[in-house]
């Protein structure tokens, strides 16, 4: 049996997190849902996710710090990061570092399709 790709969903809003997590699970990912920035930093340092869905505005640690962590970590050079935010200006400034920026509200089916497409395509 093929091992599932691994994803972190980092989003402090529980309902939104459930939607993202479900979309990835439906697309065939093994998902770990994370609800705050501090835990997110620890999990990013401890795992090798194929995909990270990252909210920008969170209590404690903002998403841009976590994005910085991921991009500075050589182990994670294959990790795709999708920014999920309602803050277009903030997202614009981080766009070069992200693989994709999705502006909230994000469609469940759209996210489902996107992550399905990425699933077995290695990042070049």
């Amino acid at each position: 049996m093929e091992t599932k790709p691994f994803a972190l969903v980092i989003e402090d809003n529980e309902d939104q997190n459930l939607v993202f997590t479900t979309a990835l699970q439906q697309a065939g990912y093994a998902v770990e849902s994370i609800f705050n920035g501090e835990t997110a930093r620890q999990r990013v340092a401890a795992t090798i996710p194929d995909m990270v869905i990252l909210d920008l505005h969170m209590p404690e640690v903002d998403g841009n710090v976590i994005l910085g962590d991921i991009r500075a970590d050589k182990r994670l050079h294959n990790t795709r990061v999708i920014l999920a935010t309602a803050d277009a200006a903030f997202a614009d400034s981080l766009q070069p570092q992200a693989d994709l920026v999705l502006l909230k509200p994000i469609s469940f089916s759209q996210l489902h399709q996107l992550v399905s497409r990425y699933k077995f395509r290695p990042k070049e």
Binding site: F20, T22, F108, S109
Partner: protein, 402 residues
């Protein structure tokens, strides 16, 4: 007799003459003051004339005995009263006439020199007070100026404060709307996502009624989401926070994209949506593709909204070397001349009752206008009530360098 003796003698004699001819001299003085009373803008009142004349005689007498210092005081007093310089000269002349009339020839020169000394002392006091007046006046003017400048400064500060408050209020409004729209979008995102999860059958298949209800939930949530976006856009563009991108894009692709996005909206309403592409526009232009699509989307949505039968056309064309044109034509309600003035104002719709009939908060065209302006483009409307409308947007092929 030495000179001082002679002068002293003359002084004595003149004094005697003034004392004996006091009334005569006083009457000369009265006449002088009287004559000039109304020709000069002096502050002297008629009933003071006699008093001044008497004082003048006394002062002269004092000069003939005392030091000139008290005479100087007299000059100051005259000046303070508001006696004019002309009057002063006239009084001096009268004094000399009196002395000439009453003095023997051999003493005349000495006597006149005494009068001259007297006049000088009076004039000195007079001038000194004038100088004080001038200085005081200067001081008063300076004070008034400072007060005015101070008041002016206070006013400027006030105006600045009000302006700052207005800017602050505006910034607050922008921040508030940004914040609110972010806060509203978060639960809305969850709502939409979860509705979709149900629709996609993640938790099992839905029956027809359930599917119908879920799709209504989604439609309403989508409408809300559009309203928040428009509010945020309006406030951000208004507050100058809009950053337009400079990227290459295809004008025809903008039309294709908007056409495919709104085709079903038009068909659902029973009207047709058409696009007319052309090779008369450049393959690529430089600008903000997403914002250009927003302009066209808003115009197309508007046209569909206000058209109940017929069609909506999207046309694209070139205009000279520097510009290209987007045109949206409809066979809808049309716009009356007076409504034409306000359709681009925020929160307005051509007929205030239409917001109930057609929905929306009335920001679509306002945002279009703000965006077109920001792109250094132009927009025109051709419309007649009942005969449809044509919106024409002209955009530069390349943004002009600021």
């Amino acid at each position: 007799m030495d000179e001082t003796g002679m002068t002293s003698n003359a002084r004595q004699i003149v004094k005697q003459q003034v004392e004996s001819g006091r009334d005569e001299l006083a009457s000369l003085y009265r006449k002088d003051i009287q004559e000039l009373l109304f020709t000069n803008r002096s502050g002297i009142r008629p009933r003071m004339v006699a008093q001044i004349a008497e004082q003048e005689v006394d002062a002269f007498l004092r000069a003939l005995t005392d030091s000139s210092e008290s005479v100087q005081e007299h000059g100051i007093w005259l000046s303070q009263l508001g006696v004019s310089h002309q009057t002063l000269l006239r009084l001096g002349k009268s004094t000399r006439q009196f002395v000439i009339a009453h003095t023997d020839h051999d003493l005349l020169l000495d006597a006149l020199s005494i009068v001259e000394q007297y006049e000088e002392a009076v004039a000195l006091g007079f001038a000194q007070n004038h100088e004080e007046i001038i200085l005081a006046e200067q001081e008063r003017i300076r004070g008034a100026l400072q007060l005015a400048v101070g008041r002016y400064t206070v006013e400027i500060t006030e105006v600045k404060k009000i302006a700052d408050q207005a800017t602050e209020a505006n910034e607050f409004k922008t921040k508030f709307i940004a914040r609110i729209s972010h806060e509203l979008r978060t639960p809305l995102g969850a709502l939409m996502g979860m509705s979709e999860m149900l629709q996609e059958g993640v938790y099992g298949p839905l029956n027809d009624l359930q599917k119908n209800l879920v799709s209504r939930i989604l439609n309403n949530a989508t409408t809300l989401s559009h309203i928040f976006s428009e509010l945020l856009d309006q406030s951000q563009i208004e507050s100058g926070q809009l950053r337009l991108k400079k990227e290459k894009f295809s004008p025809n692709a903008v039309v294709e994209s908007v056409y495919s996005n709104y085709l079903s909206m038009a068909l659902k309403k029973g009207i047709s949506l058409h696009k007319e592409l052309t090779n008369r526009v450049p393959q690529t232009v430089i600008g903000d593709q997403a914002r250009t699509e927003q302009i066209l989307s808003n115009l197309v949505v508007n046209a569909i909204k206000f058209t109940n039968t017929g069609r909506v056309n999207i046309r694209i064309d070139g205009q000279g070397e520097a510009n290209w044109v987007l045109r949206v034509e409809d066979t809808g309600a049309g716009i009356s001349e007076e409504d034409m003035q306000m359709i681009f104002e925020p929160f307005r719709q051509a007929d205030e009752t239409t917001s109930r009939r057609y929905g929306g908060v009335g920001l679509g065209l306002s945002i279009v206008l703000l965006l077109v302006k920001a792109m250094n483009g132009a927009i025109r409307v051709d419309s007649k009530l009942g005969q449809g409308s044509t919106f024409t947007v002209t955009l530069p092929v390349q943004p002009t360098q600021a």
